[in-house]
Amino acid sequence: MNSLPGDVSALVIGYGNDLRGDDAAGWRAAEGIEALHLPQVETILSRQLTPDLAASLSGAPVAVFVDACVDPELDGVRVRRVHPSVGRGDSSHHAAPEDLLWLAAALYHASPRVWAIDIPASEFEFGAGLSQRTSAAVEVAIARIRDIVTRAQ
């Protein structure tokens, strides 16, 4: 649910299109975290990042965004800190984690510590399945996310 329970210690948001091959990486990673049933950790699966997620973000002290990433120089899972910045808002499809963090501060005076996990991806054909490389990277991402959220508890 968008309205988080009151005692959430960490929020994991996996986003992308689960019918476009490797674009499902964010979902698969978030589902992997969900399956661990970590206490006080909530997950959200979303097709895209929309402004209403700022409200969810404001309810957790720690958040992790996870998504597929097309970057030829990305050699493995990348973990990076996210800092607030104002987006262009040209499309409800293209908000970035930085935009939502900015909105969380502007609207809810919330400043969670936020990370983004970029999972290397290259195959985006119609279909529900990850490439071998991305599938392996999802397992790594799940482990990295677990580290972040368990440290938050």
């Binding site: 309205s3 019918l19 700022a54 808002g89 935009d99 609207l107």
Partner: protein, 472 residues
């Protein structure tokens, strides 16, 4: 020699499109076109799939309005099974559709069009977005987010997830509404009603400043088409097709959605992947009609919930049958209020807790049509199956597609009003986009026909046309 002004992509809409404005040497607009540049192909690649998969499959046409397709598809399958679904199942499907209307309309008003309306069409483009709105008026932004969340929570409470809930199925629905969730949702009603009323008050206060826009943004006569109840009351899930003209006169009523081909024709144009539906009796393009909030508000006799009916009376007193596409915004806000009031009513209905939720049957018809009102307008799904229940043919008439002629006309009207001479200001370009945004189109939904459109490919070099290829 003519000049083209191209806006590509159009911003703050769902999906991808471009606008081309043709101007002559004097800078006068000759014509304008709205091009849809997406191609999706669902009508083709669903062939061969089992009927039972169709609600889930077609729900994936769109990530913003999947519920609309889910419900229209389930209704189509109901028709092929020849079942009347249990009353509780219909009420739950209606509840989900109302949640969809709330979340979609809230997104349209607060995130997509709100920046223009509240910050101004000529305001700094760098800030004329949801972030600028949040900065300038955080309270409105917060309220808008909460209202959209409420609609999504209705959907999630029923279907288990906010997007692509695999819950409406042929014959009914998969699961009941948990009573604790029902009470949670009821608890959110007062705030949601308050926000809906705030949005209406805010818009009505701003409206006098938009007289020019109301005249220039698609103000032309057309038919209005949508579902309505037996006495013409506002409908969003059931009922029959009703058509009124630009004066409000009823052109047709109680039309069976299953007979849509008798009264809706579809044309194609080379400049767009979107089909051009029209009302057959009046031919193409004279049979131009609009669907969606403005159409539903124009064609209904009443809404059937107290606050929304009051607003409808005020709207009618002010505009009669409203023909300006700018007033889609106003109609959308009335519908949000209607939807929240009707959610409240359904959540208090004791039948909503029933566990009799599904009728079972085999394939009893080889063709079925299901129609429902998506937030953007009437949606038709038409499936033909074989004896084994495998899809052999699909036709989808999407809400946004039915507004295609009107969107083109709107773009041309705005262009003629705001584009003059060689110096085209940024505000004018934004207004062209804003004209499209008034319709709140979902272009991701609208582009599916495969191999049926005439295509013209023009290869143009610096010295002019090099080669022209055409597929008819």
């Amino acid at each position: 020699m003519s000049r083209q002004i191209v806006i590509d992509p159009v911003s703050r809409i769902e999906g991808h499109a471009k606008i081309t404005v043709h101007v002559d040497d004097a800078g006068d607009v000759q014509d304008a076109e709205f091009h849809v540049t997406e191609f999706r192909g669902f009508e083709k690649f669903c062939e061969g799939r089992p009927l039972m998969e169709m609600p889930s499959l077609t729900g994936r046409i769109c990530g913003i309005c999947p519920v609309s397709h889910l419900l229209a598809s389930a209704k189509t399958a109901d028709a092929i099974l020849s079942v009347k679904i249990p009353p509780a199942a219909e009420k739950l499907r209606r509840l989900m559709n109302l949640g969809q209307i709330i979340q979609s309309h809230a997104l349209s008003f607060f995130y997509l069009s709100g920046p223009d309306l509240i910050l101004g069409f000529e305001s700094d483009p760098a800030k004329r977005n949801v972030f600028g709105l949040a900065d300038a008026n955080p309270e409105i932004a917060r309220r808008g987010i909460r209202l959209r969340q409420f609609g999504q929570e209705v959907i999630e409470a029923l279907g288990g997830r906010r997007i692509h809930p695999a819950w409406a199925v042929p014959g009914g629905v998969r699961s009941p509404l948990d009573d604790s969730k029902r009470l949670d949702l009821l608890g959110r009603i007062p705030e949601s009603l308050d926000t809906a009323r705030l949005a209406l008050t805010t818009f009505k206060r701003m409206l006098p400043a938009f007289e020019e826009e109301a005249r220039a943004y698609g103000d032309f006569p057309s038919l209005y088409l949508g579902l309505a109840g037996p006495d013409g009351e506002w409908e969003h899930y059931g009922g029959a097709i009703r058509v009124v003209d630009s004066t409000g006169k009823v052109v047709a009523s109680a039309l069976d959605p299953a007979d849509y081909r008798k009264y809706i024709g579809e044309a194609v144009e080379p400049h767009s992947y979107l089909k051009f539906p029209y009302y057959r009796e009046m031919g193409y393009p004279d049979g131009i009609y609009r669907v969606g909030p403005l159409a539903r508000i124009n064609l209904c006799t009443k809404i059937g919930s107290p606050g929304a009916d009051e607003e409808l009376i005020e709207f009618r007193a002010r505009f009669g049958t409203a023909n300006s596409s700018f007033l889609y915004h106003y109609a959308r806000l009335i519908e949000i209020l209607a939807a929240v009031e009707k959610v409240q009513e359904l959540l208090a209905d004791p039948e909503i807790g029933s566990d009799r939720l599904r009728a079972s049957a085999g394939i009893n018809q080889l063709n079925g049509v299901g129609a429902s009102e998506a937030p953007r307008g009437t949606l038709f799904h038409d499936y033909t199956v074989d004896e084994n229940g495998l899809i052999t043919k699909v036709n989808l008439i999407i809400a946004t597609g039915q507004n295609n002629l009107a969107m083109n006309k709107t773009v041309a009207q705005i262009a003629r009003h705001y584009v003059h001479g060689a110096d085209v200001k940024e505000g004018a370009l934004n207004r062209l986009e804003a004209g499209i945004r008034a319709f709140d189109p979902c272009l991701s939904c609208s582009t599916h026909a495969a191999g049926t459109m005439p295509l013209k490919v023009r290869i143009v070099g610096p010295s002019g046309l090099l080669r022209e290829l055409e597929r008819s």
